[in-house]
């Protein structure tokens, strides 16, 4: 039993870290033609995420792989139930990855404009789709003994869409703050202003989300039975307010850190509410996929625990090292000088 709980925690951490790390890449991608007025700016923007986006995306692959290895039944049903949504997500991730690499390989303006457009769309779609998917998971999927009774249109219910918008706004602000930290001059100021402009919208949507969650899902049940857990959503709210306080003080790095905490805590808030479900059924709780009825055997979980205990610390160590190597601001001069850059 304990191993399943451990893997539930790990599952939550993998998703939360993925959203924290790829969140600013997606946000930066969504903002890049709006904040980058000319080609130089746009190259700066892409190069702020250039060294790290690929490594950040691996958290998603690991989250997927961990779901497969630890909760194969959930993996199988979730992925086939959400088929069309995942397909769109895949297309977007494929296009995003090649856009970064291909954009600078031709000098024509049309070529660059096309890839710029591709970057914006392929950054927006995953942000929205992840939100819609998680909103629907929080609310539960229509599944019973005979299987799944939903469709893509079903997923676009008001609560799913609201969660989608929440994710998009979280990532937009996250990306804007990242850019304001990583760039200089006018570009940095524009990014800072963008974060300030979007913040009230995020606040409204976050409040609406917290309220709607009461009616659309059973996420609050766990909090009522163990009120000390409320510390997590409270931290989410505090961090969300922290973003505003810190940007007002001009502490952009602090605001970005606060935005990291916000995303982590938002994901944890939802996941704590889910426990012990991975996907609740909103037709009949008996057909919910829980960590106990969809998990791998204890033997497999033990092996996987050993692997993670050995390798995750190494991964985290070299990731921290890389963020240190690439600390500091990206400037136009630097990008123009470096032929290898994007």
């Amino acid at each position: 039993m304990e191993l399943q709980i451990l893997w539930f925690v790990l599952w939550a951490v993998l998703w939360a870290v993925y959203f924290m790390l790829d969140g600013f890449v997606l946000g930066t991608g969504m903002l890049h033609i709006f904040l980058g007025k000319n080609d130089g700016d746009r190259r700066v923007i892409i190069n702020t995420i250039g060294p790290v986006w690929d490594g950040n995306e691996v958290w998603l692959i690991t989250a997927g792989g961990a779901t497969f290895a630890a909760f194969p039944t959930t993996y199988a049903l979730m992925f086939s139930y959400l088929y069309t949504a995942l397909l769109l997500l895949l297309f977007a991730l494929i296009v995003r990855g090649v856009s970064f690499e291909f954009r600078g390989k031709e000098d024509s303006a049309l070529w660059k404009r096309s890839w710029d457009f591709a970057i914006v769309v392929s950054s927006f779609l995953p942000a929205l789709l992840f939100g819609v998917a998680f909103g629907n998971i929080f609310a539960g999927l229509p599944m019973d003994a005979t299987g799944y009774h939903g469709s893509l249109i079903y997923l676009l219910n008001p609560y799913g869409l609201l969660t989608g918008i929440l994710f998009v706004l979280l990532f937009l602000i996250h990306g804007a703050l990242y850019l304001s930290v990583k760039t200089v001059g006018d570009l940095s100021r524009r990014a800072h202003a963008m974060a300030d402009k979007l913040w009230p919208a995020l606040l409204v949507v976050a409040v609406a989300f917290l309220g709607y969650t009461k009616f659309a899902s059973r996420l609050y049940d766990n909090y009522f039975s163990a009120p000390y857990l409320l510390i997590v959503p409270l931290l989410a709210v505090a961090a969300l307010l922290g973003i505003r306080i810190l940007t007002a003080k001009g502490n952009l790095l602090g605001a970005f850190a606060s935005s990291c905490v916000t995303i982590l805590m938002v994901v944890f808030t939802g996941v704590i509410g889910l426990f012990p479900n991975l996907i609740p059924s909103n037709l009949d709780p008996a057909h919910s996929l829980t960590i106990f009825n969809s998990s791998s055997s204890p033997y497999t979980l033990k092996i996987m625990t050993l692997v993670v205990a050995m390798f995750l610390p190494i991964v985290i160590a070299y990731k921290i090292w890389v963020y240190r190597v690439f600390r500091g601001k990206v400037t136009v001069e630097e990008v123009l000088e470096d032929k290898q850059a994007y």
């Binding site: 691996v58 692959i61 792989g65 497969f68 086939s80 297309f91 890389v322």
Partner: protein, 447 residues
């Protein structure tokens, strides 16, 4: 068409497309790492230029290899949910381990390599590309252990209505998976060697930067000779393993219909699947198939007729793919031998015909790699896990024909477009050649 057929077609298309890029990355990463090491140890700027030029071609491929890989992981859940449920306990582990052990390493250090030219020391920069190369090959190991388990399942029991892992080490040391890995990575090295030789040959024919391309060609020729030799040797051991563990696949590879001892190898052979025999058998090398299969000339080979029709793989595509793959393998060895001889003697330019052949040979190892996968995957049919689970029982129940049809069309269009752009960019950069102006090349600044 039904969900099963469409899903199979989709898996075939997406994995074969992914597999256009992977073999080159396996080998080219090592070659670029070697070039950079030569630069760091000798300070010779020719090797820096080589690192930059071949590295640029490597990166375009790498990007597509990475993004198309995610599709494959997702598809197990999307299209093959019954499979994922049934074998997830054992099959999910190598995929998750690949991500934690290899994929992170590869993706993080490729960032250091691309963007770190003036942020890390020369040595650290070279180490980064080595880490990428090691991780790429390590990632192949875990994927092929997973695939090897589908070909020859070990270390599991059927319990609670699914396959459960009972012996992790059995999967890790599964000879089928290890041999497949060995055969595959050296095939990838062959692709890379012929890629570098082909591009170099084009420039040498144009008399363009001969020093640069002669050095590149020579390095690739040696790499190619070693890898083609290993492809054959490991391939032979691999075939022995197939004969032992997947007799129906082996019978299809050689088109053997009747069970008998001391089976000979017909150099000319046309299988006739409907009549369940060979329409043509000519120029027979006696006992050769038995010798290849079990390393004893009189070994018994089980014929296809001894398997129920419902458990036979499609013979014609498996047989021809195998023949053609082996034929190409022999050709690659011969070409590499000549390439090493001519480049060591410094006589490459005297033989434009050979250079032309090497240019046109560039795509052939790609084809051989794809053929190898047809043998491996089609030869396993109708099983998705050999002897345990049929492909027809593995497909998702929750998806519909129009859904899969739309996704299949979507993948074909998207991949088709990306493939064209990729070939366009590769050709453009390959023709342009290396940067001459050393000031345009950023060198690692710190030591």
């Amino acid at each position: 068409m039904d969900v099963l057929t469409l899903s199979r077609l989709q898996f075939a298309i997406t994995s074969m497309f992914h597999f256009i890029f992977v073999p080159l990355t396996l080998g080219l990463s090592i070659m670029v790492a070697y070039m950079e090491t030569r630069y760091v140890s000798s300070g010779d700027e020719l090797y820096l230029k080589m690192t930059k030029f071949w590295g640029k071609l490597f990166l375009i491929n790498f990007a597509l290899g990475v993004v198309t890989g995610i599709t494959l992981e997702f598809q197990f859940g999307m299209n093959w949910a019954e499979y994922s449920k049934y074998v997830g306990d054992i099959f999910g582990a190598p995929l998750a381990i690949e991500a934690t052990m290899a994929f992170f390493l590869e993706s993080v250090f490729i960032g250091v390599w691309i963007f770190g030219w003036n942020k890390v020391s020369k040595k650290m920069h070279a180490i980064s590309i080595w880490l990428v190369a090691i991780a790429t090959n390590l990632s192949g190991l875990w994927i092929l252990l997973a695939n090897g388990w589908m070909q020859h399942p070990v270390g599991y029991v059927l319990r609670n209505g699914r396959a459960e892992m009972v012996d992790f080490m059995a999967m890790v040391t599964n000879p089928y998976g290890l041999l497949k890995f060995g055969h595959q990575i050296v095939s990838g090295y062959t692709v890379a060697a012929f890629f570098v030789m082909g591009v170099s040959a084009w420039h040498l024919l144009k008399k363009n930067k001969p020093d640069f391309f002669k050095t590149s060609f020579k390095m690739a020729a040696t790499f190619g000779l070693v890898s083609t030799l290993l492809v054959a040797v490991i391939g032979d051991f691999h075939a022995v393993e197939v004969a032992k563990t997947q007799p129906a696949k082996f019978a299809a590879m050689e088109s053997v219909w009747e069970t008998k001892r001391g089976v000979g190898l017909n150099l000319l052979l046309i299988p006739d699947e409907i009549k369940e025999c060979n329409a043509l058998e000519r120029i027979c090398i006696p006992n050769m198939v038995s010798l290849l299969a079990f390393h004893t000339p009189n070994a018994e080979i089980k014929g296809l007729k001894d398997f129920p029709k419902s458990e036979r793989p499609p013979v014609t595509p498996v047989f021809y793919s195998f023949r053609l793959m082996v034929g190409l393998g022999i050709l690659f060895f011969v070409l590499s031998l000549v390439a090493v001889f001519l480049s060591r003697k410094g006589k490459l330019e005297n033989y434009p015909l050979f250079l032309k052949i090497m240019l046109f040979a560039l795509p052939l190892p790609y084809i051989a790699n794809q053929l190898g996968w047809i043998v491996a995957e089609m030869g396993r049919q109708p099983w998705i896990v050999y002897g345990v689970l049929k492909t027809s029982d593995a497909v998702s129940k929750a998806i519909s024909t129009p859904q899969v049809l739309v996704s299949l069309i979507g993948f074909t269009l998207l991949y088709g477009t990306l493939g064209c752009i990729d070939i366009y960019l590769l050709t453009k950069l390959a023709r342009k050649g290396p940067d001459d102006d050393l000031s345009a090349i950023i060198k690692p600044t710190r030591n």
